[in-house]
């Protein structure tokens, strides 16, 4: 029996673990190495690490931290943030990660997807798509560096990245991020039914039930941040997994 993956998503800012709400207000959670250790001990299906500051601040990838994370993790690891070329990817794989997630570099040069999947195999290339609704409720791809929607239809873009060689799509709802009120199921349905590659749903999970709903809507895997970091109505920090 196949199990759909439940993937904690850890946001990094400098050397800290943080969590955002609708892509704003990064709140300090703790030490990423400590969090990774807890997820490792609890047997998490997979971990997704995203450095949310590296692209915006034009810094280099924190390979040292990634290397420490990989040496103590015995589960699949993905990294996203500030990846600009094949060389960056090669270094991330050599450290012990098996997937790289690209977002803004795929938007500015979609050919990087093809180059990467031809070099490393499509299974190791995740294309991350941030989606935000406009005031009329229409979905747009959101550029987190420019902090605005761009005139790109998420479904068209998702089909395009699949064709270019992406192995998975990480579908992130900006509107639902950090609210813990559930995923955007309509968005998940729309995208996953039109793709043959796996879709990882992200953005909004507040309960275990939400994770199930994402899978029922067609996601191959359900990812969440707040759900695995907060506890109780006051959102006390408590790293947890099932």
């Amino acid at each position: 029996m196949y199990r759909n993956r439940i993937i904690p998503c850890l946001l990094l800012k400098d050397k800290a673990l943080v969590k955002t709400v609708q892509f704003y207000k990064p709140r300090y959670i703790g030490d990423p190495l400590n969090a990774v250790k807890i997820f490792n001990d609890k047997g998490a299906d997979e971990l997704l690490l995203i450095d949310i500051a590296v692209s915006k601040e034009k810094r280099t990838i924190n390979f040292d931290l990634l290397s420490k994370i990989a040496s103590q993790s015995f589960m699949p690891l993905s990294y996203g943030g500030g990846i600009h070329n094949i060389k960056d990817m090669k270094k991330i794989f050599s450290i012990g990660f098996e997937k790289t997630s690209i977002n803004s570099s795929a938007l500015s040069d979609p050919n990087i997807i093809t180059k990467a999947s031809e070099t490393f195999g499509s299974q190791s290339i995740v294309v991350s798509i941030d989606v935000k609704k406009d005031i009329f409720g229409r979905y747009y791809v959101y550029n987190h560096v420019a902090k605005k929607n761009i005139s790109l239809d998420p479904l068209e873009y998702a089909k395009k990245v699949e064709k270019l060689g992406a192995g998975e799509v990480l579908l992130n709802s900006v509107d639902n991020d950090g609210l813990m009120k559930g995923y955007d199921l309509e968005l998940i349905r729309k995208i996953s039914s039109s793709l043959s590659i796996p879709v990882i749903a992200l953005g909004g999970a507040g309960t275990q039930e939400d994770l199930k709903k994402a899978v029922q809507a067609g996601a191959s895997a359900a990812s969440a941040g707040s759900l695995f970091m907060f506890y109780g109505p006051n959102r006390a920090v408590l790293i947890n997994y099932f």
């Binding site: 029996m1 993956r5 990989a70 015995f74 050599s94 450290i95 012990g96 998975e168």
Partner: protein, 203 residues
């Protein structure tokens, strides 16, 4: 000393990490002399079949691997592409495989129940025969898989485990000193650690 074969195909560091974690010692190498002295050999691999065979060939590694594994009977563990390369051939490529087990590698065709290809994620294995590799393994072991091709054995006795993904396929094989897994023990928590510990200490 365990030698992890470096032929430019994937994540070698995490294999070395897990060998060390379970108390073994491993070097990563493509040096023929070093491989000649290996007590055990691990052939990992992520990527395309022909690239794998081509790289093994270009680095001059095929004769030494043949000698160690087939003549000297050095314990061998193939992982993922490393399992597919020991079959005779693959639908993914045109080159001949190593042919150490009588098997072929074929592609997942369209699967029912919205099962996506590649088969990516955690899945259970059913152990088909008594094996040192699964000695002391906890019940219902599950492992991490990422693959679009799978191995079909001519000889059913070579099948060590099966896994269901639309149907049952051979997720691990064992023949004499040759072990191979389609899944990634190095990324499969305590289940993978136990399997690797067994490879390090019990085969």
């Amino acid at each position: 000393m365990i030698t992890i074969i470096d032929y430019g195909m994937g994540n070698l560091k995490s294999i070395q990490n897990i060998v060390q974690k379970v108390g073994g010692e491993a070097i990563i190498s493509y040096d023929v002399n070093e491989i000649m002295h290996a007590d055990k050999i691990i052939l990992p691999g992520i990527g395309a079949f022909d690239n794998g065979m081509k790289n093994l060939n270009e680095r001059g590694l095929i004769p030494v691997l043949q000698k160690k594994v087939m003549q000297e009977k050095t314990p061998f563990l193939g992982i993922c592409l490393g399992m597919q390369l020991i079959t005779r051939k693959s639908e993914e490529g045109a080159l001949e495989g190593l042919g150490w087990i009588d098997a072929e590698t074929i592609k997942f065709k369209s699967l029912s129940n919205n099962l996506k290809i590649p088969h990516m994620g955690w899945n259970y294995v059913v152990v088909k025969k008594n094996s040192n590799l699964f000695k002391g393994m906890c019940e219902n072991p599950r492992f991490y898989f990422v693959h679009s091709y799978y191995v079909v054995c001519k000889n059913e006795n070579d099948i060590l485990t099966t896994t269901e993904y639309g149907f049952n396929f051979a997720s691990a094989v064992e023949k004499d000193n040759i072990y191979a897994t389609q899944f990634h023990p190095e990324k499969s928590h305590k289940f993978g650690m136990k399997l690797m510990e067994n490879f390090v200490k019990n085969v």
